[in-house]
């Protein structure tokens, strides 16, 4: 029974996320202001895509929809063939816990938890032993080069280090999709380079699909492809060649 199916979808096998006719608006004082209108595009498996556009272009809204943080007014968003616009809120929470890792502009770490505990946090949603959780969180922190900072509180870390903890937190559950909203927006040049390098490695070596929103051209150039969003409409995808 499975064999004919695989064959039938062979052509679309490398598409991870498929958006079809997605629209989204916000209600302000009785009237709806459209943010996204009729967006359709695909994101390939193991792709590193940068979404660019000026403020208010709707790029963060689009990212939130893909990550299952917000719901679309119309259209479908299929991730691995599953339409996440149809999931209930609590199913969506479970889906996010299983499939998506988040990286935010202001890191959004819990200030009262240590680096290790912050990374461990998403694992508490899975049925894992305490020991297992510790080991995985350690591994993730080592992966971002912070194996020696596990006991530090966020306030004892630099901005770049905090963002690397956030990246470790995003990948510790081994999600297929990483979403990053202006991950370098609050970092100096060198820290930004470091964070982007880690993301590139996650994409290339571990095959993570990454969708990154940024308005920084230099950050976007670390991605494999760039799409521009302006006034709710999407431009053509530009593929970048990396050495």
């Amino acid at each position: 029974m499975t064999t004919p199916r695989v064959a039938a979808h062979a052509a679309r096998d490398d598409v991870l996320i498929a958006l079809r006719g997605v629209s989204k608006g916000y209600r302000r004082g009785g009237q709806t202001i459209p943010v996204l209108t009729d967006i359709s595009f695909d994101i390939r498996r193991a792709e590193f895509l940068a979404l660019m556009g000026p403020s208010g272009s709707g790029k963060s809204t689009l990212l939130n929809l893909i990550a299952g943080l917000d719901s679309a007014d119309r259209g479908s968003i299929k991730v691995s063939g599953e339409d996440i616009t149809r999931l209930s809120e609590s199913d969506l929470a479970d889906w996010r816990a299983a499939n998506v890792g988040f990286i935010f502009q202001f890191y959004n770490l819990m200030p009262v938890l240590t680096a290790l505990e912050n990374v461990e946090l998403p694992l508490t949603l899975k049925h894992l032993g305490r020991r297992d959780r510790r080991d995985r969180a350690h591994l993730a922190l080592e992966l971002v080069g912070l194996g020696d900072r596990v006991r530090h509180l966020p306030s004892e870390l630099s901005g770049g280090q905090q963002q690397r903890v956030a990246i470790a937190r995003a990948i510790v559950t081994d999600p297929m999709l990483l979403v990053a909203d202006e991950p370098t927006g609050d970092l100096d040049r060198q820290s930004a380079e470091d964070a982007l390098a880690i993301m590139q490695r996650l994409n290339r070596e571990m095959g993570k699909t990454i969708v990154m929103v940024t308005h920084d051209r230099r950050a976007a150039e670390h991605a494999g492809a760039i799409m521009h969003l302006e006034k709710g409409e999407l431009s053509q995808r530009v593929e970048l060649a990396h050495g």
């Binding site: 939130n64 943080l69 479970d94 996010r96 998506v100 988040f102 959004n108 009262v112 505990e117 508490t124």
Partner: protein
């Protein structure tokens, strides 16, 4: 979810001043709440301990306390000759025919006078009340102007001490002994020979008759027969019930006033907790957004904040109850409105009070944390993440 609990706990620790002030307010409410219950249980324990289950007290019908009651000798004789009454080793019935009067004595170190209960008792008094023991000196001699004093009196009244004498009813009464009545109401009394006291007070009738039953189960038979006897104008009550009733007025007052106050005060503390928790939610919106993005459900967020509020309540309870437990060192003397005599009792901490005050404190925490926790849980992820 211990990590999330650690999150709640550490957030409290980080905001030390706020936590301290909020929990401090709750602690004071818990203190008042627990102290009231402790005072009430102390009062009850003292008066309930005064009565003995095996004893029956006879007073004149409708008299609520002994000083209101008059029983003549004929009636007293009928009571002591009933078959239900226990017979002692010496062949005499175990009965105490008593006279109760109040005298006003000056309190030590003040110009204030207080009412002391003087009880004239029969020869069998100690057999009727086995828990009363002479601990210093000796028992009064029948036929002498001698008295013994209760343990709670020592040091409270001017001139009331072993070896000295006090003057009332035109006689000097020598204090020859001190007795211990196990923390009961008798400890606030003076005992003497009932015949001597009746002579001094020019009375030829008793106030009450207390009998010890051979068999507790035969109380109803005794009561029914004597109360129906046309020669008698008496009312029989188990001694324990009789004294318990004396605690009702004061105890009711303490409870009603105390609990009404605790409830009023708790409103203030709940508002305080609400303010604190709303501020906690407001300042941690981005954290809440991140937790939700990571896949934590609304219910988990709700619980994390509720847990924080409950922990506040718990802290308030621990501090408040510790303060209240210091009150067990305090001894209270006040006029019992029913018997009109002064009664000494302590604050008594019982396991029930520990539990009740804990539930009370947690309820305050819950009420204070509920609305803020709901707000935290209902935040939209997108808005929460965007919050400054």
């Amino acid at each position: 979810m211990p990590l999330l609990l650690a999150y709640s706990l550490r957030n409290l620790r980080v905001r030390k001043l706020t936590t301290l002030l909020t929990a401090g307010g709750m602690a004071l409410v818990v203190f008042v709440f627990a102290a009231v219950l402790m005072l009430d249980s102390g009062l009850k324990q003292t008066l309930v301990a005064t009565g003995d289950d095996t004893n029956v007290i006879f007073v004149r019908r409708s008299a609520e306390v002994e000083i209101q009651s008059i029983l003549d000798r004929a009636q007293a004789r009928i009571i002591e000759s009933q078959p239900e009454v226990m017979i002692g080793n010496d062949g005499a019935p175990v009965v105490s025919k008593e006279l109760v009067v109040l005298i006003a004595l000056p309190k030590r170190g003040s110009t204030q006078v207080s009412n002391l209960l003087v009880r004239g008792v029969g020869r069998e008094a100690l057999a009727v009340r086995p828990r009363v023991r002479i601990v210093e000196g000796r028992m009064f001699r029948p036929g002498a102007s001698e008295i013994v004093i209760g343990g709670a009196l020592a040091g409270r009244f001017e001139g009331v001490a072993l070896g000295s004498s006090i003057h009332f009813a035109q006689r000097d009464w020598q204090i020859v002994g001190r007795f211990d009545a196990g923390g009961s109401g008798f400890d606030s009394e003076i005992w003497g020979d009932s015949e001597q006291l009746m002579q001094a007070f020019r009375r030829d009738a008793f106030s009450s008759v207390v009998v010890r039953l051979a068999d507790r189960a035969r109380f109803d038979a005794l009561k029914t027969r004597l109360e129906a006897d046309p020669r008698m104008t008496v009312e029989a009550k188990p001694e324990r019930i009789f004294y318990e009733e004396q605690s009702r007025l004061l105890s009711g007052f303490i409870r009603i006033i105390g609990l009404a106050l605790s409830l009023m005060f708790s409103l203030g503390a709940v508002f305080g907790a609400t303010i604190t928790m709303y501020a906690a939610v407001a300042s941690r919106q981005r954290e809440i957004g991140a937790l939700r993005a990571l896949g934590f459900r609304r219910a988990s967020i709700l619980w994390a904040f509720l847990a924080e509020a409950l922990l506040l309540g718990f802290t308030g309870w621990a501090v408040g109850l510790s303060l209240a437990s210091l009150m067990t060192l305090v001894r209270v003397t006040t006029l019992n409105w029913t018997s009109l005599s002064e009664l000494a009792f302590s604050f008594v901490l019982t396991p029930a009070i520990v539990l009740q005050s804990l539930l009370f404190a947690l309820a305050m925490g819950f009420l204070g944390g509920f609305l803020p926790a709901v707000r935290a849980a209902r935040l939209k992820i997108v808005d929460a993440l965007r919050a400054a």
